[in-house]
Structures are given as C-alpha cells and as structure tokens.
C-alpha cells in the first residue's frame, strides 16, 4: 500500500487528538481531557454528516435532529433508570437503562427510523428544497422538545450520573475519552469501507450526475436514502455520547444552530475528506477556547476563517495540508 500525503496528515491529526488528553492526564488537567472528548464527539457527528453531505452530496441542514434524538434517547433512558420509573408499564414493562451498550443501539435505531421518514420525504426534492425540508423537520422536533414538559421542556433534562460501560470506570475522564475516540475511529473506518465499496461508487456517481444513473440501471433515490440513514445513525451516536459527557440534554442539541455547527466541522476540515470533520471539530473547539478568551465575538472571526476556506480552499484544512506544490 502506498502512503499518500493524506494518510500522513490523517495520522498526524489522530495522533494530536490522542496526545492532548494523555498529556493533560499527566498534568492533572481534567478540563482539557473533557475538551478533547468534546472534539472526538463533535468529530463523530461530523463524520456522520460527511457521509451524506460530502460523499452523498445531500446538503442536510437538519442533522441536529439526529444529534438531539441520540441525546434525548440517552437522557430519557438514564433518567427513568435512575428514578426506578418504568418507561412503559402495561401488559409488559419496559425499564430505562444506564448501560451504554444498550443505550447506543437504541439511540441509533430510533434516529434511524426518524431518518427513514425524514429522508424519504425530503429526498423527493433536491437542492434548496431539500435543505429547507431537512431544516423544517429538525425544527419541528426542536419545538416539540421545547413544549414537551415530561422531559424538562425548554430547560432540558439532567441525569446526575454518567451511564455505565462494562469493566470501565466512566467517571474517569480519560476512560470516557478512550470510549469516544474508539467509536470515532470505528466510524471513520466504516466510512472508508463504505466509500470504496460498490455502494460508495454508485453513491459518488449519483452525487455527480443523478440523471445518468438511471440510464445504467441504478435508482439514485435508494442510494441517497440509505446513506442519509447511515449518516443520521452516526450523528445520533455522537448525540448520545454528548449527552453523557454533559449528563444533560436540552433542546439546544436539536436546534438549527447545532446543524450549522456540525456542517462547519465538515466544511472547515474538508468536505469529502475522511478525517475532515475531525480536523474541523478540533479547530472549532480550539477557536472557541483561544479566541473566546479574547473576544465574546469569536464566532465572528471563525466566520471569516470559514469564508476564506469556502472561497479559497474548498478541500478545507485537510485539503490545504495535502495540497502538492503545483496543484491549484
């Protein structure tokens, strides 16, 4: 296997993401470990969106819905378990749970079901209408959460203890980082596998020239719907981890600001680059904490950077770093 420049840059990005919390642990600095965990989680959300946005060419402005659904599933299951209140009590009883290994698949499946419905309806359109429909669906879910008193409504829902993982103490920030980081790596590996597969080849074709696909016997709708659902599931897993990081979920996770943020991770780091969202999320968090110290308006400066990236470096940060001399 030949080592490309992108492989080198990707390894460096991952090495950095691992190095920061390990050094922070040695220096007894749990706050920085939490920051790195946040980067890993946001990166996972971005890796999910990158599948739809980058590889599928589906500009979803509603991925906060899946991020938030992942979060709410986690919060609801955990708070029921903590209060010993069954979720459903009738002919049979369904209890909450604090086991991450149970919460994750439930969060993924619930978000996947939402994605099937949202995707099937939104994919009847394309372009601006697709963007607006995904936005509209996610805002519907947002307003539903705001006005749903059972789980905190506008104030959100706290659950006081972090959920559990077999044989690992999840209260140790570094342990939790490793869990999030491992899931991120698995998601990146899955993305790499999907994009190289037959499905990925067809998906890329549908992105470049959907009309042409029918004439070689492939219906783009099913490709798009499939990747939209896979993408939503990954973002939902990130939402679940994020809820656990904060031990709190609120409608803010569902808001369109969140959709925009996940989109920024992808575009800043490099649309359609495997590790673009990781670099993007890292830079975003870094900017939030470095620029944030100097100015409350740090997002204004980040906006300028984003503008420059979109205009001059459509491949994002990874694109800049892997650019060879002589390339345009």
């Amino acid at each position: 296997m030949n080592i490309t420049r992108e492989t080198v840059v990707n390894s460096a990005v991952l090495a950095l993401l691992v190095l920061v919390p390990v050094v922070a642990q040695l220096r007894g600095d749990p706050f920085t470990i939490t920051l790195a965990t946040k980067v890993a989680i946001f990166a996972l959300a971005g890796v999910g969106l990158n599948l739809a946005l980058g590889f599928g060419g589906l500009i979803s402005f509603g991925h906060a819905a899946f991020f938030g659904i992942g979060g709410y599933v986690t919060g609801i299951l955990a708070s029921h378990a903590a209060n010993y209140e069954p979720l459903f009590d009738g002919a049979f009883t369904v209890n909450g749970t604090q086991q991450m290994l149970l919460i994750w698949p439930i969060a993924i499946v619930v978000a996947g079901l939402f994605a099937v419905v949202i995707g099937a309806l939104s994919l009847r359109t394309s372009g601006v209408f697709f963007i607006m429909l995904t936005l509209a669906f996610s805002q519907m879910i947002y307003y539903f959460a705001v006005s749903w008193p059972s789980y905190g409504g506008e104030d959100g829902l706290s659950f006081y203890t972090r959920n559990q993982f077999p044989e690992l103490n999840m209260f140790d920030p570094l342990n939790y980082f490793w869990v999030c980081f491992t899931l991120l790596i698995l998601a990146v590996g899955l993305s790499a596998m999907i994009t190289r597969s037959r499905f990925g080849l067809a998906l890329g074709g549908a992105r470049q020239n959907p009309q042409r696909m029918a004439s070689i016997g492939i219906r783009p709708f099913w490709l798009s719907l499939t990747i939209f659902v896979i993408s939503a599931m990954m973002t939902a897993l990130a939402g679940s981890l994020y809820a656990d990081l904060n031990r709190f979920v609120s409608p803010a996770m569902l808001n369109w600001h969140m959709s925009g943020e996940i989109m920024v991770f992808v575009i800043l780091g490099g649309n359609r680059r495997l590790l673009g969202p990781v670099a993007g999320a890292g830079l975003y968090i870094l900017a939030e904490h470095l620029l944030g110290q100097f100015s409350d308006y740090w997002q204004f400066f980040l906006g300028l950077v984003l503008l420059a990236v979109v205009l001059f470096a459509p491949g994002g940060v990874i694109g800049i770093l892997t650019r060879r001399r002589g390339d345009v």
Binding site: R196, S197, F199, L201, A202, G204, Q208, A214, S215, I218
Partner: protein, 249 residues
C-alpha cells in the same frame, strides 16, 4: 426478416398544444442500425426519451424484447438491456474512465448495495470493464478522470458504458455531435462494428455518417414519421427531399 427487438406502436406525446410525437411507429431489428433523422425540433430527442423511459408517452405502446415497457422507469429499462448514450456527453466527471465503466458494469449486474468489498479490486467488475474500455478504443486511458478526456474520448467512454450494460439494443443520441469530421471518421467503424453486439437506433445529424452506417432510415418531421426505408429509398423519396434533404439534393 430478422427478429424485431424493439417495436413502437402509435406513440403520441404532446406538450400543451405542441404535438412532439404524432402516431409514431417504428421497429428495430436484430443486427441493424436504424437511423432516425429529421430537422431540428422534429422531436427526435423527445422520441428517444420516451423509448428510454425518461418521459411518459400520452398513448401508444413500446415493446422491448417481447415485453410491454411503457410503464417502466428508465432504470428498469436499462437493466432489461436498453442502453442509451446522450446528445451532450453525460459521464461522471470526477471519476476515472475505469470507475465510470465499473459503475456501469455494476449497474448492469444490479448489485449496488455491497458495502464491504472495495469495488475497484473486485475482478467481477474490473475484468468486464477493461474489456469494454478496450472495445470502445480507450485502452491505456483507464486512470484518466473523465473531466480530463478530450471530447471524442468522452464519447467513446459513453459507448464503453453503454456496452457495459450488455445491452439488447442501443439508443444513441447524436454520438458524433461536436466531434468534427476527423472524430466522426474515427467513430464510424466503432459504431458499425457495434451493431454486431446489439442493434442501434441512431439519431445523428452527420449525414455522411448516417448514409455510411444505416441499414434503414426513418425521417421524422414535426413529430411524424414521413418515410422509412433503405438509404437508397430515402435518398430518392421526393417528400423527404422537399422537407429535409431539400437544400442538399
């Protein structure tokens, strides 16, 4: 008479008051090139789109390989073996020649939902793709992205993709458009040989090519077929000369 693979009966299509296709009937037989000619706006592309399944006719029937297909969508007709090329080159610009053709092979196999194995190291895909690339005269250009191909090469890539469907009939919409006389001369023998793979319904403006290639010609004027016949018959037909070949004859 050899076997009929494609049979169109009394096809009608109107866009508002415009009768784009009026009572069109035609057949495509095994082993032939049937050329469809006519002035601009005669409805040639509209007819091709109806046969390919991109637009629905208002009435009439299309029988392909013994099956009524007028209610099928384009993807289903493609998979049944109706391969089409486009008037304006339509390939996947960011993909290499090989990727484009592998994609078409995969479409023909009807297996695009594999998630695990890398497509480009699957010999069930790459072996046939290589053969079609060679057949279309693009050997040695496998690694070039489609966007970087010359116009003529892109037309050849379209033919390789059409071949990949292992079609039972080709619909070629102006394959020589924009190729210039030299390009057209290069493509003529490739098309001529293509009819041994499957019969061709050919829409083409280049009259030299049509007269060199076609076994039969149909002339479409204002959505209506005014004549069908051999090259000699069409050249001699007074109505055709008046309405279409007029200025050349």
């Amino acid at each position: 008479m050899s076997e009929v693979i494609l049979e169109i009966h009394n096809l009608h299509k109107a866009f508002g008051a415009l009768q784009a296709t009026q009572d069109v009937s035609l057949t495509l037989r095994q082993g032939e090139i049937h050329a469809l000619i006519g002035p601009n706006g005669a409805g040639k592309s509209t007819l091709i789109k109806q046969i390919a399944g991109e637009i629905r006719p208002d009435s009439g029937s299309i029988v392909f390989a013994g099956q009524r297909v007028e209610t099928w969508d384009a993807a289903a007709r493609a998979r049944a073996g109706l391969a089409r090329s486009f008037q304006i080159s339509s390939v996947m610009p960011d993909y290499t020649v090989l990727q484009n053709v592998v994609l078409a092979v995969q479409g023909a196999q009807g297996r695009s939902f594999g998630f695990f194995r890398p497509a480009l190291s699957d010999r069930h895909l790459t072996d046939p793709a290589q053969a079609h690339i060679a057949h279309a005269g693009l050997e040695g250009r496998e690694g070039v992205t489609a966007a970087a191909l010359s116009h003529g090469e892109r037309r050849k890539l379209e033919i390789a993709m059409a071949l990949a469907l292992q079609p039972r009939a080709f619909l070629l919409d102006e394959p020589m458009a924009g190729m210039g006389p030299e390009g057209a001369r290069q493509l003529t023998p490739i098309l001529s040989e293509l009819r041994t793979s499957a019969p061709i319904l050919l829409v083409e403006h280049d009259m030299d090519a049509v007269f060199a290639l076609a076994d039969r010609i149909s002339v479409l004027v204002y959505g209506r077929i005014i004549a069908t016949g051999s090259v000699a018959e069409i050249r001699a037909n007074p109505e055709v000369r008046a309405s279409y070949l007029g200025e050349e004859a």
